[in-house]
């Protein structure tokens, strides 16, 4: 898994490449957690899944954990470029109750 973090105003965009599972989710938690801790001005989080090949419940748990931080800042968590098989996982998991799927990165960036 590779993460690319880009901050634009109050929005942090995270491009997730590769597989998000038990072996990679600790790094996912740490990298995004550190960024959110160091930069308290970040209020919204956008996950770009266009290069994500796999996510399981360990990955979903890691995503939900970052939502908890953002929720404390009254922010929003959004997902863009979500492949169909991930949409199904997100639906089954109930994650879409707290994370919206936006049609494009430009649309999601309007949260700022």
């Amino acid at each position: 898994m590779n993460l690319e973090l880009k901050q634009n105003g109050r929005v942090l965009t995270v491009v997730v490449s590769g597989e998000l599972d038990l072996s990679t989710s600790p790094d996912f938690r740490r990298r995004i957690g550190d960024e959110l801790e160091q930069n308290q001005g970040i209020q919204h989080l956008i996950f770009d899944f266009k290069e994500t090949s796999f996510v399981d419940s360990s990955g979903l748990g890691a995503i939900l954990g970052r939502y908890r931080t953002i929720a404390k800042r009254d922010g929003k968590v959004s997902a863009v470029n979500v492949p169909p098989h991930l949409v199904r996982l997100f639906e089954l998991s109930g994650l879409l109750k707290v994370m919206t799927i936006d049609p494009s990165l430009e649309e999601a960036e309007k949260y700022d």
Partner: protein, 155 residues
């Protein structure tokens, strides 16, 4: 309908044992998906098999051995155009199976408790046998939808 020996009749099996470390979860997915691809699964079905495998093996790493060292045995079988995946550990066992199967139940607050839910949703059958301090055996079975259709047509 009498089936001819050929593509649809092939049988195969694979037994593999590996240490219960997080790095092997991805390895198990690759092995199972490659093995399953010998049947007529769609890409979507293969994705479901990958998720179910990931959950079963992750459970061994996290829960069965509580992140201590242990061994996971993976038994794969193709028979009657059906894939069987058996994931066996010699770990702590599950004290309350009904509770473990409850959606959103997890012993770890950073986890969503969805592992067993996904395994049940994505496979045709999922059974768990567990004995405290002896280990757990998960059996998951799935047949390609396209094979089910062709069998129905012929009957």
């Amino acid at each position: 309908m009498i089936k001819e020996a050929g593509q649809g009749m092939k049988e195969n099996y694979l037994l593999i044992t590996f240490p219960s470390i997080p790095e092997n979860v991805g390895l198990a997915r690759v092995i199972v998906a490659s093995f399953a691809a010998q049947l007529d699964f769609t890409l979507n079905e293969l994705e479901e098999i990958r998720v179910a495998t990931s959950e079963a093996v992750s459970n061994c790493v996290i829960h069965a051995y509580r992140e201590q060292s242990g061994e996971i045995q993976l038994e794969l079988k193709i028979q009657d155009e059906t894939l069987s995946i058996k994931v066996i550990d010699g770990g702590c066992g599950i004290s309350d199976l009904d509770l473990a199967k409850t959606a959103a139940y997890s012993t770890d607050p950073e986890r969503m408790g969805l592992g067993l839910v996904f395994m049940e949703s994505f496979m045709d059958q999922m059974t768990i046998e567990s004995q405290l301090n002896q280990g757990t055996q998960v059996l998951m079975v799935k047949k390609p939808e396209r094979s089910k259709d062709s069998n129905d047509d012929g009957q």
